[in-house]
C-alpha cells in the first residue's frame, strides 16, 4: 500500500510510539484506556497528542472494560477509535470484544503481550495471548488479528488495522510483544497521502429505507453514526436486519453467516505475510513478532552455511494465512515454528499442514527472547 517517495522524515522511535504515529495517520480521533506495562507509552503519548488535534479525545477510564466500552461508544458515534493494553487488561476486554463483533463496531485494540498467566511477567516479552486474541470472547465470531515484528511495521500495521476495521466493520486486534513495543530504532514517517486511508461506508439511502444490518454483497452493511438522523437500535442480542432482537432461527442463521462471510470472502485482502527466501526452501520457518526478526537473521546465517532455509513472517495471525503456509509445507521437508509460548501458532501450522511435512516447534515461556542462534541451532539439527 505504501508507494515509496523520495524524501521522508526519519524519527527514532519506540514500537509503542510508532503505533501512535500510525493511529494518527490512519485518522484515529479517540482513545480510551487504562495504564498497563508494557503498553503504557501508547496511552501516555495519546494523552499528550490527541487533545492538540482538532477532533481528538483522550480518556482514562476506570478499567479496561470501561475503556473498551467508551471506545465502542465513540465508534458508534462515528469516530475512529483505539485502545491499548497488555495481558491482564486484555482479559478484562474480552466481554466487549464480543460486543464489538456483535454490533460490528470498527475499532483497534493493541495488546502488547507480556508473560502470563495472571499478572505474570509485567516487563518481559511473551506471545502467550495468540489464541486468546482469536477465541477469547465467548461465542462463535470472526476476528482479525495482526502483528508486527519491528518498529516500522508497528506503524504500518496500525494503519492497516484501522483500514481493515473500517473496511470490514469489525474490531481488529494488533498483537505486539514487549520486545517490539520497547525497541527504539530509526523509522520513516510516511508522507501525507502515502498510505491509502479507508473510511467506513455510510448509508446512501434516507433513514426510512435504511436497514442497519441488511445483507449486502460485501456482507458489510453501511454504518449510520449516532446522531446522523438514522436513529438505529444497536444491541448485543442477536438481531434482525433492523437491528432488533430476534429469536427466529432463519434470521439468526443469516446474521451469523453474514458476519463470517464478510471476513471469509476477503481472505486475499486480509491475510498478509512476508516471504523471505522461500522459493527453494527445504526448511521453512513460520514466525511472527520479534521472533520473526530473530528468524530472519538465522535464515541469513544458515544460507551462508549452505542451508536452504526460508521464512514466512505472519503479519496477519487470524484469519490464519493458510495458502502461504500450505505452499511452504508442500515444498519444505520440515517447518520450524519458533514462538514465545507453549505452541499456540504451531497448532495452526499443524492444522493446515495436515500431516504433510514435519513440524517442529521452538518454545520459550521464561520471559526471554528467542535468539537467532537458538533458531540457527534448530535449523542445523533438522
Amino acid at each position: 500500500m505504501a508507494q515509496a517517495k523520495k524524501k521522508r522524515t526519519e524519527i527514532f522511535a519506540l514500537g509503542n510510539e510508532a503505533v501512535v504515529e500510525g493511529a494518527l495517520i490512519a485518522g484515529c480521533t479517540f482513545y480510551a484506556g487504562y495504564p498497563i506495562t508494557p503498553s503504557s507509552e501508547i496511552m501516555e503519548i495519546m494523552a499528550a497528542r490527541l487533545p492538540r488535534t482538532p477532533e481528538g479525545v483522550f480518556l482514562q477510564m476506570e478499567d479496561e472494560i470501561g475503556s473498551l466500552g467508551a471506545a465502542i461508544g465513540a465508534s458508534l458515534a462515528g469516530r475512529k477509535v483505539m485502545t491499548a493494553t497488555s495481558g491482564p487488561g486484555f482479559s478484562l476486554m474480552q466481554e466487549h470484544i464480543g460486543y464489538a463483533c456483535m454490533v460490528e463496531s470498527p475499532l483497534v485494540i493493541v495488546n502488547v503481550m507480556r508473560g502470563g498467566p495472571s499478572t505474570g511477567l509485567p516487563t518481559s516479552p511473551s506471545q502467550g495471548d495468540v489464541q486468546q486474541a482469536r477465541w477469547g470472547t465467548h461465542g462463535d465470531h470472526p476476528i482479525i488479528v495482526l502483528s508486527a515484528s519491528d518498529v516500522q511495521e508497528c506503524l504500518e500495521m496500525t494503519v492497516r488495522a484501522f483500514n481493515m476495521a473500517e473496511k470490514y466493520r469489525t474490531p481488529v486486534i494488533l498483537l505486539l510483544d514487549e520486545v517490539t513495543a520497547h525497541t527504539r530504532e530509526k523509522i520513516f514517517l510516511p508522507e501525507p497521502g502515502e498510505y491509502e486511508i479507508l473510511e467506513r461506508a455510510v448509508p446512501s439511502v434516507p433513514p426510512e429505507w435504511f436497514k442497519p444490518y441488511e445483507d449486502t454483497a460485501r456482507g458489510v452493511p453501511p454504518v449510520a453514526p449516532i446522531g446522523a438522523g438514522y436513529r438505529t437500535h444497536i444491541t448485543g442480542l442477536t438481531h434482525d436486519p433492523m437491528g432488533y432482537p430476534t429469536q427466529r432461527p432463519d434470521e439468526i442463521n443469516t446474521a451469523m453467516h453474514r458476519m463470517f462471510r464478510k471476513i471469509d470472502q476477503f481472505f486475499d485482502d486480509i491475510q498478509l505475510v512476508d516471504e523471505f527466501l522461500t522459493e527453494d526452501a527445504e526448511i521453512g520457518i513460520v514466525a511472527y513478532g520479534s521472533v520473526a526478526r530473530s528468524a530472519r537473521l538465522a535464515v541469513t546465517k544458515a544460507r551462508e552455511r549452505g542451508y536452504k532455509v526460508g521464512l514466512i513472517t505472519l503479519k496477519t495471525l487470524f484469519p490464519f494465512p493458510k495458502p502461504s503456509v500450505v505452499a511452504l509445507a508442500r515444498k519444505a521437508k520440515c517447518i520450524l515454528v519458533p514462538e514465545m509460548n507453549m505452541g499456540q501458532m504451531s497448532r495452526e501450522v499443524k492444522r493446515v499442514n495436515n500431516g504433510a511435512t514435519r513440524v517442529r516447534t521452538i518454545n520459550r515461556v521464561d520471559g526471554s527472547i528467542i535468539t537467532p542462534s537458538e533458531i540457527l541451532k534448530s535449523i542445523t539439527q533438522v
Binding site: 487533545p51 492538540r52 480518556l59 472494560i65 467508551a70 465508534s75 466487549h96 444497536i234 448485543g236
Partner: protein, 277 residues
Amino acid sequence: MSEVTQLIHQYLRHNKKFPHVLCPGCGHGIAMGSIVRSVHAQGWSKDDVVVVAGIGCSGRIAVYMDFNTVHTTHGRALTFATGIKMAKPEMHVIVIMGDGDALSIGGNHLIHAARKNIGLTAIILNNNIYGMTGGQCSSTTPTGDFSMTTPYGQLEKSFDIVELARAAGANFVARGTAFHAQQLDRIMTTAFGRPGFNLVEVFTPCHTQYGRKNKFKNPVEMYKHISKTTMPLEAWSKLEPEKRAERTPVGVFVERDEPGLEERYMEMKKKLLGSAQ
C-alpha cells in the same frame, strides 16, 4: 388525538415488533413514559437523543423508543455513554439501568461516571431485585428480604443510591417513584436540562420477582406500599429523627452546577489549540 396517543405515535418505534417484554404491573413502563414525556417537554429533536441501556428488564425498554438507542452490556452502559458524549457532546445522553446493573456489576462505572461528572442523565430503575434473571437479590435488596438467592433473608445491607451518588460527586441527584408519575416527570425534565452528571433513582415495583417472594398479593399492593413508605424530602426533613427511618424521602437531594467533563475538555482543547496557532 389525546396527548398520550400523540406521544406514542411520535416517540415509540412503529416498526418494532410488539408486544413488549414487561410483565403486567411492572413499573419500568411507567418510567419509560416519564422519559418520553420529559424529552418532549425539553423539545429535543429525536435525532439528538441517545438512550444507552444496560442489561435487565430495565435495559429492554430502550428498543421501544424512537431515539438513537444502544443496548449495551450488563453494568457497563455508562462507559459506552461516556464515549458517546465525549465523541459527540451535542447529543443528549440518557442512560437506563437496573439496580443490579448500575450498582452491583456496574458500581465501579457508576461512581466514576459521577466523579468524572460526564454530561448525561443516568436513570436507575430500582426494583430491589434482579428481575430479568428470575429474582435473585441485588445490592439494593433490603436486609431481611427474600429472593431466590436469599431464601433465608438478606443478611447484607443495601446501598442508598442517593447517598452513594452524592458522595461520588454527581451534579444532580433525585429520587422518584413509578407511583408518583407527575413528580417523576418534573424530576426527569429538570435532570434532562442540566449540565454534568445527573442521577435519577426510580422506585419501580417488580411483583413477578420481588413482590411474590415478599408477601405482596399483587402489583397494586406494591404501588400502595410505595405510596405509604415514601414522603417528599421537604416533609421528611421536618420529621423527628427517630421517625425518619420509617419513610424514604423522595425529591431532589443534590443540585450542583459544575460543568460536565465534555465541557471542561472542550475548554482545555480551545486553550491548547489556541496556543499552538
